[in-house]
């Protein structure tokens, strides 16, 4: 289907189903139960899942396929956001104008940055991309471009936002004044009560999820294409590839631009959910975050980056909400002294300390599971299947062996 083989089609369908039914899947606990705080089915978080999924898929195309570790990908995220907000300011709140522009502009920037950075590889490439991203951050944080032109381009540390004095030439009389797609307001959602459960279906989420599915499909096609094969060749042996007469540069540049466009699209979507663009989106910590997501999920796998993005965003929003009172509630079955001790031990890792947990987890994954969560899942799967096979094996092979043996003896 759609030019995919059977396995990939299944994967795409499974991912599609999960994204469509995400409001149900992420809300397994009734709204007023004690576990309700683990529900992730609220619009803001679900939008983040989809958006950072796109970002990580794009990053994985570059890092997973070619092995070029970019530490400056957040720059494109910021560029995407700025382009979309500028379209809000000039035309109107319809996201349709901004998103393609975000993709194009970030693609252009990626072309420039990639053309220069890709002259070097390894650690030099990482440093160059980092340098470019930090430069862009500094430029937008102090609005250097704007100071040259004499007006605001990025609006400095306040961040770019829409004011009533902006032209907005396409703005109709009855148009909503938040981001929308032909009147479909992004922040509106439809709430459904089923018994004690409450499910939220948010326009913005479904819009981003749809885009995520499309770009996920594109990523699968890139992975399976001859172009993707070339990129893998660059990762496994760059020198040999150039000896066979193929110049790796155009391929890496192409994938760098594609990956920059993914990041720009993600940034544009961020501005579509919330009509703001700030420089902090371009800071190198944001670039580090997408690296964490991709590695945690599984580098070079299709579904890994999406999983990693979901995992980190879930923990960022949910894990950080657990506090001591909640812990005391959980461990109240223990004797008093022990309860306090357990809470004391866990305390540094939860709430505001969740970064610590993330850091440790990340290190463990890098050390023991270079393939990330996906490899972990595969290993567990293999263990289960392996045991089954072992159980089956003796029964199926015994007769034949015995037969052979007896043959040989006689």
């Amino acid at each position: 289907m759609l030019g995919l083989n059977k396995k990939d089609t299944t994967l795409l369908i499974v991912v599609g189903c999960i994204t469509i039914f995400a409001p149900f899947i992420l809300n397994p606990f009734p709204a007023d139960s004690a576990m309700a705080q683990f529900n992730a089915g609220y619009p803001d978080l679900m939008q983040r899942f989809a958006i950072f999924g796109i970002f990580a898929i794009g990053f994985n195309l570059l890092f997973g396929l070619t092995g070029y570790l970019s530490f400056g990908h957040a720059a494109f995220l910021g560029i995407g956001s700025y382009s979309v907000v500028w379209m809000y300011k000039l035309l109107d709140y319809n996201v349709l104008w901004g998103l393609p522009l975000a993709v194009v502009v970030s693609g252009l920037f990626a072309l420039g940055i990639g053309y220069i950075s890709l002259r070097r590889s390894g650690i030099y490439f990482s440093i160059l991309t980092l340098a470019f991203a930090q430069m862009m951050f500094a430029i937008s944080y102090s609005d250097l471009l704007g100071r040259f032109v004499g007006s605001t381009i990025t609006n400095g540390e306040t961040g770019l936002q829409v004011y009533t004095s902006d032209p907005q030439i396409l703005l109709g009389a009855n148009e909503p004044n938040t981001p929308h797609l032909f009147g479909l307001v992004m922040n509106n959602s439809y709430k459904m009560d089923v018994g004690p459960w409450m499910f939220t279906f948010n326009n913005g989420y479904y819009f981003s999820a749809l885009i995520m599915l499309v770009v996920f499909y594109l990523a699968i096609r890139i992975f399976r294409s001859p172009f993707g094969l070339m990129l893998r060749a660059i990762k496994s042996n760059n020198t040999r590839m150039s000896y066979t007469g193929l110049n790796p540069r155009p391929y890496t540049l192409a994938v760098f631009v594609i990956s920059g466009m993914y990041a720009g699209l993600a940034g544009g979507l961020m501005a579509s959910m919330d009509p703001l663009a700030g420089a902090e989106r371009m800071q190198w910590t944001a670039s580090g975050e997408v690296v964490l997501m991709t590695i945690l999920g599984g580098t070079g796998t299709l579904i890994g980056p999406v999983l990693g993005a979901g995992f980190i965003k879930y923990f960022e929003n949910i894990f950080s909400k657990i506090n001591d009172n909640v812990l005391h509630g959980w461990f109240s079955f223990l004797p008093d002294g022990l309860e306090n001790f357990v809470v004391f031990i866990i305390h540094p890792f939860i709430g505001k300390g969740w970064h610590l947990t993330l850091g440790i987890l990340f290190m463990l994954v890098v050390i023991f599971l270079p393939g990330g969560l996906v490899e972990g899942g595969q290993r567990i799967g293999k263990m289960i299947r392996g045991k089954k096979n072992q159980n089956k094996k003796p029964s199926s092979t015994e007769p034949a062996e015995q037969g052979e043996l007896t043959d040989g003896n006689s």
Partner: protein, 340 residues
């Protein structure tokens, strides 16, 4: 002219910090071939060694002094730091005042220990893995160290003053007829960093141990074949590199109040410094550190800012990009280091 010299001085103290961190990074890279993203965290831990010692020294017992009364007639409560009651008032107050310089002695063993544990416990297992993995695992370690410090010391910067005697400003230009005043502590920092850099270089140049280490940097395998346990020496060098970063941090504490993410802020720039100086070249790292520090302070002059607003924040990156593209090995890079 005054402004010119002042900018050079301004650049020197930031440049010293860059140079020290870059020196440690290069030591680790040159010996072990590992790109250590946790080096900034070591710098930060060094600064927090100073904070810790200052806090320990100022721990005090509250006693009631019956001879003095406050305005309500109650006996006045007096705080006496423990060090004062143990070592006498003079020595005690001296120790409290000089906590930051004293932290140098306190921090060296700690930093070397941390370096050993890091190398033996974690980085040892990453020699055979790709550079990307090394970057990632040390990046993770940096996050963990940072969060641990944040847990114990909070997220706010902690002011750590320099000793009173070194806290003022010095009139440098008096003898030459220039109007030039400059904070004493920054001059101390610069001299200190020169001392450390000189120490490291002479250690590598004039001792047998240093000779073996240099030989190992040039050709690890041959040195190993000659029956020298090069791994152990490299571990010690990792400890030394950690100590250098720590010392840079200790002395930097009075210049900028330490906070938990100061390491990361410096690390990014230090990497740029290392790359500009040339991967694996110790003199290159020091030279690039000072050069970029001075360049940065020149770019922050008002005259230049008026021409190119905001240039001070991006000048280092622009220079790095230009140098990497025109001299791919950096200023003093050796052939064959980090080249595919």
């Amino acid at each position: 002219m005054d402004a010119f010299i002042l900018q050079i001085l301004n650049g020197l103290d930031k440049g010293s910090a860059y140079a020290l961190i870059a020196l440690g990074l290069t030591l680790i890279f040159g010996t072990l071939g590992v790109v250590n993203f946790a080096h900034g965290a070591l710098f930060m831990i060094g600064a927090f060694c100073a904070v810790t010692l200052a806090k320990i020294f100022s721990l005090s017992a509250i006693t009631e002094d019956p001879t003095q009364k406050d305005f309500l007639g109650n006996p006045l409560k007096v705080k006496t730091p423990y060090v004062e009651s143990w070592f006498g008032a003079d020595v005690g107050s001296f120790m409290i005042d000089w906590a930051v310089p004293l932290a140098i002695i306190f921090s060296i063993p700690i930093m070397i220990m941390i370096g050993f544990i890091m190398e033996r416990g974690l980085i040892k297992h990453f020699y055979k893995r790709p550079h990307a993995d090394q970057i990632l695992v040390t990046f993770g370690l940096a996050i963990v160290l940072q969060e641990v410090i944040k847990y114990f010391y909070g997220a706010n910067p902690i002011p750590t003053p320099a000793p009173d005697a070194l806290n003022g400003v010095a009139d440098l230009g008096g003898t030459f007829g220039l109007a030039l005043v400059y904070p004493v502590w920054r001059i101390v920092y610069f001299c200190f960093s020169l001392l450390v850099i000189g120490g490291i270089f002479s250690f590598l140049q004039f001792t047998t141990f240093g000779m073996v280490v240099r030989a190992g940097m040039a050709d690890r395998e041959t040195v190993g074949l000659l029956g020298i346990n090069i791994d152990r020496r490299f571990t010690i060098m990792f400890g030394v590199a950690a100590a250098v970063a720590g010392l840079a941090g200790v002395m930097y504490a009075p210049i900028n109040s330490p906070n938990y993410h100061m390491g990361m802020d410096f690390l990014v720039l230090s990497f740029v410094v290392v790359v500009v100086g040339g991967m694996g070249s110790l003199p290159g790292a020091v030279l690039a550190g000072f050069l970029l520090g001075i360049l940065e302070s020149f770019a922050s002059m008002n005259e230049i800012k008026a021409l190119f607003p905001g240039i001070d924040q991006i000048i280092i990156y622009i220079v790095a990009i230009i140098i990497l593209l025109t001299r791919p090995r950096g200023l003093m890079g050796r052939k064959g280091v980090m080249e595919e």
